[in-house]
Symmetry: C2
Subunit: 461 residues, 2 copies
């Protein structure tokens, strides 16, 4: 590797950590549809949301107008422990691909939570603390979000109650132990500690739980316990707002070296990473100042953008949440076993759904086996063992770079490397043993999911 | 946390990556005693070492005179992927301790191997590649060193054969899968692939293996296979030389802000991290230019510095290696179950042993439970889940900072945070469950170990 003006890793200085989050909704002509009450089908007010979320987060959820939302000093202090995160030039991957393209990735994995989730966890914990609350509740599947929230709560001295899907609690004990080390209480769900948990256990003795059930338990505890609120790691507008720190930093780092990305790629489950990464770039695109190509990558096994419907639906399988207008496969759609746990959500952020619907971004799918091939090539050349979720973006970035090889174009490709795969070694083992399978849902599978979407034909948004 | 002139993380620029390793042996008046042949008791020559190690590494092993050894460009290019590593000011830990001390740590864990081991792995792999070899062999216990070597070999296109202690291979499959992802072949040891492995299996059917046996198998394959050599992750002079990149970077980062450490603390197993961290500082101390207090921290369960003998001994339990003069508990000493796998070695680097013997550094011990208490406090305040090994240094740094609280001294404390604990969650689980035990060997335990040290009373060094 010869010397080059652009370093391997572009680090902003600590005093260049963004002062504000970027609210892309302010630039959208067609705003994302509001959350509605599942009974009345009317938009939710701050007052209706307040029993569940703390007040300032409710306001952020509904604020479609403020473009720059100042980041409180206490959150910037926490960010300083693991941010700014670097934009890395993938010199070694480029060399291995023999491509004229320049590949950059924004790396969010250099913290103990192992992903970008910490960016919103600290924000949500901070507003809860500021409101004088005692603690927060949440659910977690494999444990990425729960870990991030535990770290944020430990830092602020806030109690943290995590309901972890029982099968993960038992079979993936390591993230559970990280959460416990950070002082969180971790309860396998369903549990005897809630009404809904008891009900499910009596109906289905021996069940290993589901994310939908864990959400229901977490919401129940938050609403029934004095001084507690519920928090969520993706999908919501507020989460995309907090995650915009990824994009604002990425843009500042590239601007430093006059690099303009031609293509911006992110994996998409609930949309927190992709929405955060693209926010300031999408803002320029919406205002007609620049024309970036923006690409969402989703697993072929859970194709909400590419094969879903753009309608109002529940965010959870337990149907305790409000309805959101989004690309959805139906809240009861169960994707086939897919190790990118973070991309198995049936729906998609309402903000991204609206942008996709209006043609401002495109979406592609990737199959599991080819995703792990890309992950392995990336690990061997760039040194970082990537998370399965992030590897969807790697796969798409490699595809784009190989197209450049054919055409000779020197495109600048930016993708989001959301995290590391240190807690996903069972998936890597399956791949290394040749035991990984690809399953693409049939049209019948999808129809089954669509059939459970509630009728909201009376809604105007 | 108020603004301060010193950032949380001091990052050197990529063009400030050191040009040279620092060979502290050049500053030692009393040089470390040479490795000797176990049969003849004569110092080993380059020629005698060459069947095992590649030539340039043999020369580095014996070079007691060259202070600055240039780092080859190819190795600097690899370092650029994950270096320079930051020196972090532990503002949040200081605040939690309410100490006037300033605590800094050099963090070596931000790479997929999870530790500093990569610094020497790439160097050893590079010299093997340069010599035109096909591959290297090594042994690994929990897998930290094997992972680092796999990453280095994948980058250079070198074959990597790892013998992994069978019990770890089966019970700790995750690092094994990281190695496989990087293309290494990982064989549970003892195996049927070597003579020594077959012999041990026939004598002890069902054995779960030992590091000593894995070393023997790795050496056998290296010496019997055309184009292969054996590599080792600690103890050797060459390894300390490569690891000096830690200390040279740390010193450059502190110099940038005119910070002079009063106390420098590192955990010590075989000595690779501690030796690397202190090299340039110790150089100044040996030349009488500065007077740093330098502290080695070892587990109370494996106290080679504090309770061992300074004599010639084997480096392995299988007695296939040369003899090294070092602080040792005897090559057959088995420490009690201690989760800091990297600190369970019975001996200590000959360089550090000589420096300790000559009074240039001191050593303290820490017990397992208090080490994990310190680890947990560090995780909750500084955000990083530390490796058990590194946590020994954290414990000593906290003790030092609390002394400062009593005396009111504003000491600068620097310690080495060698890695992350993401693959050590079983140990954290034991601690979280209150099931961690401390065992300090009795004098009888030590006498048993000492009784197996070979007689080398005829040796002059």
């Amino acid at each position: 590797m010869s010397k080059n003006e652009i370093p391997y890793k572009i680090y902003l200085k600590e005093d260049e950590i963004p002062e504000s989050w970027y609210n892309v909704r302010a630039d959208m002509k067609k705003k994302p549809a509001p959350l509605i009450h599942p009974g009345t089908h009317k938009p939710l007010s701050v007052e209706e949301m307040e029993p569940i979320f703390c007040r300032e987060l409710c306001e952020q959820e509904l604020d479609n107008d403020t473009r720059l939302v100042p980041i409180p000093q206490e959150i910037k202090d926490f960010y300083r422990m693991y941010r700014p995160s670097p934009v890395v030039r993938a010199y070694c991957l480029e060399k291995a691909l023999d491509t004229p393209a320049h590949i950059y990735y924004k790396f969010e994995g250099n913290n103990t939570s192992g992903s970008h989730k910490l960016n919103s966890a600290i924000a949500q914990a901070y507003y809860a603390k500021k409101q004088g609350l005692k603690g927060v509740t949440t659910e977690t599947g494999a444990g990425q979000w729960g870990t991030a929230l535990s770290m944020a709560c430990a830092y602020l001295g806030l109690d943290c109650k995590v309901f972890m899907v029982k099968v993960s609690y038992e079979q993936k004990p390591f993230r559970r132990e990280v959460m416990r080390t950070y002082g969180a209480s971790v309860t396998p769900s369903p549990s005897e500690t809630t009404e809904i948990g008891k009900k499910i256990l009596s109906e289905f003795p021996g069940t290993t739980g589901s994310l939908g059930c864990a959400i229901s338990e977490a919401v129940e505890v938050a609403t029934k316990t004095e001084g507690y609120r519920y928090v969520l790691g993706s999908v919501l507008n507020q989460v995309l707002l907090h995650q915009s720190v990824i994009g604002v930093e990425a843009k500042a780092a590239l601007d430093k070296y006059d690099i303009v990305p031609d293509v911006i790629i992110g994996c998409a489950g609930g949309g927190s990473n992709l929405g955060g990464l693209i926010s300031p770039f999408m803002g320029e695109k919406l205002r007609g100042e620049k024309d970036y190509e923006i690409v969402a990558v989703e697993p072929a096994s859970c194709p909400s953008f590419t094969r879903g419907k753009f309608v109002y639906d529940f965010c959870d399988t337990g149907h305790v949440t409000p309805l959101a207008k989004m690309y959805t496969l139906g809240s009861e759609f169960i994707p086939s076993a897919n190790h990118a746990g973070g991309l198995r959500f049936h729906g998609m952020s309402p903000v991204l759904s609206q942008l996709y619907h209006d043609g401002y971004m495109k979406a592609v799918t990737a199959e599991q086996t080819e995703v792990f091939k890309a992950a392995t090539q990336f690990a061997r050349t760039e040194g970082i063992l990537p998370a399965p979720e992030s590897s969807h973006a790697i796969k798409a970035a490699i595809d784009e770079a190989m197209k450049c090889k054919e055409t000779g174009e020197e495109k600048n490709i930016l993708f989001g490397l959301t995290g590391t795969g240190y807690f996903d070694l069972v998936a890597y083992q399956n791949f290394n043993d040749g035991k990984m399978s690809d399953y693409i849902p049939t049209d019948e599978d999808l129809e089954e999911g669509f059939s459970k979407i509630p009728d909201t034909s009376d809604v105007q948004f």
